[in-house]
Symmetry: C2
Subunit: 232 residues, 2 copies
Amino acid sequence: MRSASEDLSTRARIRDAAVALFGRDGFGTTTVRAIAAAADVSPGLVLHHFGSKDGLRQACDRYVVEEFVGRKDEMTRDATSAIARWLADVDRFHPLIDYLARMLSSGTTAADELFDALLTGTSRMLDEQIAAGIMREPEDRDILALYLTLHGLAPLVMRRQVTRGLGLDQLSEEGIRRSTIPILDLYTHGLYSDDRMLVAAREALTRTSGPRSDKGENDPNQDPDPPRPRRS
Amino acid sequence: MRSASEDLSTRARIRDAAVALFGRDGFGTTTVRAIAAAADVSPGLVLHHFGSKDGLRQACDRYVVEEFVGRKDEMTRDATSAIARWLADVDRFHPLIDYLARMLSSGTTAADELFDALLTGTSRMLDEQIAAGIMREPEDRDILALYLTLHGLAPLVMRRQVTRGLGLDQLSEEGIRRSTIPILDLYTHGLYSDDRMLVAAREALTRTSGPRSDKGENDPNQDPDPPRPRRS
DNA sequence: GTCTATATAATGATAGAC
DNA sequence: GTCTATCATTATATAGAC
């Protein structure tokens, strides 16, 4: 299991350097020269291999998608050992995560593909766990799958904020150790002590079909206001 | 309530154009000339007002943070009417959201400030709701607040994916109508049918202190693997 | 495949007129 | 405050030697 930059082909080395820099600094800010320097080749060679800067970007997109979706299948087969390998190889993935974050918040079709693949995986998982009786039957499987996927990606997309909030890298062992139980607790017992919010929202939604749905009032998530994305 | 571009000062018009373009295309990709064209002024004027392109960026950062945090207080005072106003004025906010998304996934200190403000708001809300008996006592308030903030921001940061998955804009009335109940359901009843996952994770975590924590196995969220950010 | 030039265009920034 | 014109720099991309 290669750890980082070793006996990679020159082309792969350039691609890896590009992923890292695009992910860290953005596409527009990153210059071909900087990529060439990072990969220790001449600027000309970068363009020789990928045609243009945009061609390089597309290659990076394809590579990152492939890498994530590929690993996803791997995870499905053997999650535990895959996680172990992941932790051992975490340095290799950080650049990919940063790149992924930029992909997802911008609007490329490659990001769409990737998201769809992850969403499909989540849906399949939901079906299985519900069938096995591990999970209960939710209100709406599709929407639940969508938001679970979002929630799962959020810590990756905002990795910096998680690391700041946790006081340590979430992807470290200690980070996982500290956040696992609280999150499982949330997904096991929920947030509210009883049904009253749900009932109230259901009522409000069936009652008013017009503008200003009152529901936003006590819902910690999802709602329309960017000022306080989870609640007031 | 001004809807979009009207009797704004020239400086404000330039700033709005910059927010929109930076948010849509990224900082490096967006040129001063493009901003000038969008604001219908000369390139020189842009730099006259903001000193440099980076100065313009900083002004945009400050503006967006201020706008979100300011609105947040507004929400706290009167969530319902604030939401109504938000919905009426949704076009004005879309560019801000796109800008926010880029801020949060890149690593500026302005983004840190903003996130911290939102996190503080979430924490305060948690305390209140728990004290009021609306929410139950969680495993760890701080970590819960952190992840609730992340979950709340996720649909904004990945707005495009939510819109694709929902088949309509999440910020539209119909989008809210469709996603409110499923999400409230998740936060009310949780995901799992019983405690077994939580118990298993707790056991695994206290048992093994070494590498490879088995817990990742059945936790739909937060875990280390980018391949399947929520579960296998 | 890889490098060293170099062409060509576009960018951020400045100066000075109005 | 706003514009036009221009500078100096830097970028992507190409051509050709090795």
